[in-house]
Amino acid sequence: MLHTINKSPFQTNALESCLRFARSGHSVLLFEDGIYAALKNTRFESLVKSSLTDVKIYVLVADLEARGMRTDNIIDGIKTAEYGDFVDLVANNKSVQAWL
């Protein structure tokens, strides 16, 4: 199952709520303002790092770069994705939950 998050973890509870319900083996895509959850050295780094043992996390590069961040700013273990990879993630998972 794929979870998508488009909100900053500092602004809304979408990330925390998603990680509470995501199960082992699920994938999480961070995009739009959700990309801030993928970055090193933030208040959410340890939460995100610890969840990486259960879920696969992807971050949309186009949204990362728009916001002045680079792929070497992201937490080790988070994978980068283009829009095409986003499409593949949707295709390869049975369903999608958008944490709006």
């Binding site: 199952m1 509870n13 509470r20 319900f21 995501a22 199960r23 939950q97 709006l100």
Partner: protein
């Protein structure tokens, strides 16, 4: 060639409080229309979504339409699998007594009136989400 009739598991996942935004109301409008399609429908209320089911809503003071009675009608539309996240209730200090009493008549049990709402652990809500074919997120 005739199409086989598709029956999918639809989950309406509600995470927003009522009135502050229209998501609760317009989610309910989809549920009502969707009820005509004979799919396997569940509703889940997590995070602030649990507030949608709070009883005693009274909107006279804000001049908006009180749509909470519509939840009571869901049973008549055969929408009777309504799941509420216990953790979300707990952190808001809510218990089942704070919610509207939503029921349906079980046609397989001599039309006995039964409660539609089940309060589930987050683990069970997760399992519910995982088994869906379609999740409509509000």
């Amino acid at each position: 060639m005739e199409d086989e009739e598709v029956i999918k598991k639809f989950l309406y996942l509600n995470r927003k409080a009522p009135y502050g935004s229209i998501y609760a109301l317009e989610s309910l409008e989809v549920v009502l229309i969707g009820a005509a399609f004979d799919q396997n429908v569940s509703l889940a209320f997590i995070d602030d979504g649990v507030y949608q089911l709070k009883k005693d809503q009274s909107t006279d003071g804000i001049g908006m339409k009180n749509f909470s009675s519509t939840y009571r009608a869901l049973g008549d539309y055969d929408v009777n699998k309504i799941y509420v996240d216990k953790d979300s209730m707990d952190e808001r200090g809510l218990t089942i007594d704070d919610l509207m009493n939503l029921t349906y008549e079980d046609e397989d049990d001599d039309y006995a009136e039964k409660p539609s709402i089940s309060i589930l652990t987050s683990e069970k809500i997760s399992a519910l989400m995982e088994e869906q074919d379609v999740i409509l997120s509000f």
